[in-house]
Symmetry: C2
Subunit: 453 residues, 2 copies
């Protein structure tokens, strides 16, 4: 299909870069969009007619941990510190072979909700192969941890280098090197010591790799940075870890250490303080906002409205299923929009802004807006079709409001990447999800059933 | 079907009043539950086998305005004051004949999400007939307005009396008097003057009718009550309305006026202050919590955790589709649970608490727990079956967490009231929803398309 001409036709085309086009169609050739135009009378096998539906750019999931999909339902601990300790403990019990099928199961759930690009932070590296095999576009940040004295920075950097080489080989094997970019994720200030954080910044600059850092997610993390107190600080003392407390909040510390720049994604920034928001704006970092995960783990609601007022690019991420509960980007953006209104008492971001944050603005934040993020001639054919046939859509004329307030995975009629149809009418075109689910459940139960946390 | 024996069988039965029962079944005869028991080997036409699914009590929607379903999408104004002025203006343009089909369309959407009991506040009275015709159980509060000098209290009471008589006749005509109870809704302190509020309290006591009052929903309402300032106060001055400002917040005013008692439902209480929460607990009022509507209209997040700690019964309501966006009770409870965690930094109410608030606790709040709210022998057969087959349910062993975090209308396999199957596998058994939707859209467009607000 990707080598012929395909026309996607519907009662509404939403290019994002331009005004909505009623009764429109998008012409795809060789994996690219060649034209966005009013409905034509062309007929034939290559015309996909969707009727009451919205054709729009594929959705961008700004942050995830796909490899942990298998752990959903196994960790209901709170607050954040207990949750992340539970996660570490669960991971330790699982075999390495679990992470690839687990990441694939998560990627399948994303595709079913209309996601075509995902930014994923991975410890095992499995998500690169998962995205490659499932045909998704994305960014894969290799996670790095190191808060104890050993191994030293040089050893960790050598290991990182080797892991990135392995990821490059994997991507090349699946001919996915153009589709999937790499990056480095110094996990967080409570898992990466100061010297290593600086070394990773230097390494990433030399290698021309972007960074993704969990920052100012929880009050425990803020307490650690500000005053060397709280759960993380106590754990470090118990374990004899000599942690350098910066005595400023996490993002201010990263700023002072020269880590922040336009190639940095800060994940969460839930507790970002006004002065830190200034620093974020000044250094042009972007933010991945994962509000369901934040709510679930009792870390609050990120100041998205304030960040955006200062021009900070904000993308929406599902985070992992193990915290958010599901990998449905529609549920994420709906919660994001309503929670932000509840927290800020302002109708900001607007419905249209949120859809922009799932598409073109996110593409800009990831530096890929030359290729995706809007329906424009010359861009890659990454698209999603959302049916608006349920009675709940009755009367809603603003398509952006309809998408934010009403759309669900069940409304997704088609997900396309590079002109390939990955998902259509409730079915993955090249993946047996039931078999994959069964395999993941068996492996997870086997590893964990005797020792649930 | 309601006169024979029907068995609903699934991999999990959730009685609410008792622990979850794996591999169970519920036996229904003559519209009542006669037994909840482990899976039997009985076979035949009367056995409905659902496999990977949860059989549970029908869901209780604690507050709605079904007649406004047709107006969804027509009023995106904020803040609250602008929104409610927009609603009044839209209503004025619509023909009286719109409200019944509009309420029926809303009721159909509720049934599709598993709701079997709805508490609805109605101006036109149409929701009583809508619930009666569609086979739902519920409570219908007749709304009363009166803030200008005329008509006087006595006239308004006479009109109310006549409206309630008409509703009783409607219910009797559909043989729904046992299923649907009546109440009175003095709409709010900014639409009902002090003398009328007191007269309605007296009337309701004499007539043994419960009350439902929108209270402390918005900051505009609080400003009006506290200091005679803000948008409502300005509007009253412009219109020459001599409003008696109580100089205390709304719920404290209602307390001082002797309005509050255990037969009173306060809707929203979003801005309730600690002293008002004490008064609510002391007088044993219940609260209808509609968090999506509150978020949408920029009124904040109600202090549900604080209310429940003081023993105040809280039910979950979708409010109208015109504010919440949809009438999906699962979306409401999911937003409620996550938003409350985000606002209170506590894992309270628990997942189990929220499901209780949709079932048995809500039945108690409405005084109908002798008949519904749990799966127990002798109770009415009001049930919903929720499929747990989607991959997202993979690994989630806690059924309460699964329902709150993951369940959707699309998972509802069956909705039953009094042993009647109202909805099954995506279809209403006795209603042509498409025809109804078409009719409502036509009527609404005809009334509003020329003058959208």
């Amino acid at each position: 299909m990707e080598h012929g001409t395909v026309i996607l036709r519907a009662n509404l085309v939403l290019p994002i870069s331009h005004d909505p086009l009623p009764d429109g169609e998008v012409v795809v050739e060789h994996g690219r969009i060649v034209e966005v135009r009013p409905r034509s009378t062309l007929a034939g096998d290559e015309v996909l007619e969707f009727g009451d539906a919205i054709v729009m750019p594929g959705l961008i999931n700004g942050h995830s941990h796909l490899e942990y999909t298998a752990l959903r339902g196994w960790n209901d601990r709170v607050p954040f510190f207990e949750w992340i300790r539970g996660l570490v403990s669960l991971k330790a019990k699982c075999p390495a072979e679990l992470w690839l099928p687990s990441a694939m199961l998560g990627a399948a759930e994303l595709i079913a909700s209309g996601v075509t690009f995902v930014s994923d932070n991975t410890d095992s590296g499995a998500s690169a192969e998962a995205l490659a095999r499932l045909g998704l576009r994305g960014r894969v940040y290799q996670e790095v941890f190191g808060v104890e004295t050993e191994p030293d920075d040089a050893t960790i950097l050598r290991e990182l280098d080797a892991k990135l080489d392995a990821l490059r080989q994997t991507l090349a094997r699946y001919e996915a090197s153009d589709r999937i970019g790499l990056g480095v994720s110094p996990h967080a200030i409570y898992t990466v010591r100061d010297s290593l954080m600086r070394a990773l910044r230097q390494y990433a600059r030399e290698q021309n790799l972007p960074l993704s850092i969990h920052a100012s997610e929880s009050s425990e993390e803020v307490a650690l940075a500000r005053s060397g107190s709280g759960s993380f600080a106590e754990m470090f003392r118990e374990r004899g870890i000599n942690y350098l407390h910066p005595r400023v909040p996490p993002i201010e510390y990263l700023y002072n250490a020269g880590i922040l720049a336009s190639d940095v994604q800060l994940v969460h920034a839930t507790r970002a303080e006004p002065r830190e928001i200034d620093m974020m704006a000044r250094t042009k970092v972007s933010v991945a906002h994962c509000p369901r995960s934040n709510a679930r783990l009792l870390t609050g609601i990120a100041p998205v409205y304030a960040m955006r007022r200062q021009g900070i690019p904000v993308v929406v991420g599902t985070d992992g299923a193990v915290s958010a509960g599901s990998l449905d980007i529609w549920e994420e953006v709906r919660f994001a929009a309503l929670a932000q209104r509840a927290a800020s008492y302002a109708a900001q971001p607007s419905w249209r802004d949120w859809i922009g944050m799932l598409t073109l603005e996110a593409a800009k934040a990831f530096g890929v807006d030359a290729h995706i993020g809007s329906l424009e001639a010359g861009k890659r054919a990454d698209m999603v079709v959302v049916r608006t046939t349920r009675p709940a859509f009755s009367g809603v004329s603003d398509p952006y409001a309809a998408l934010v307030l009403l759309a669900r995975s069940e409304d997704v009629a088609l997900t396309m990447v590079d002109g390939h149809i990955l998902y259509r009418d409730g079915k993955h075109t090249e993946l047996d999800v039931d078999a994959l689910r069964h395999k993941v459940e068996e492996m997870t139960r086997h590893a964990l059933a005797e020792h649930p946390t």
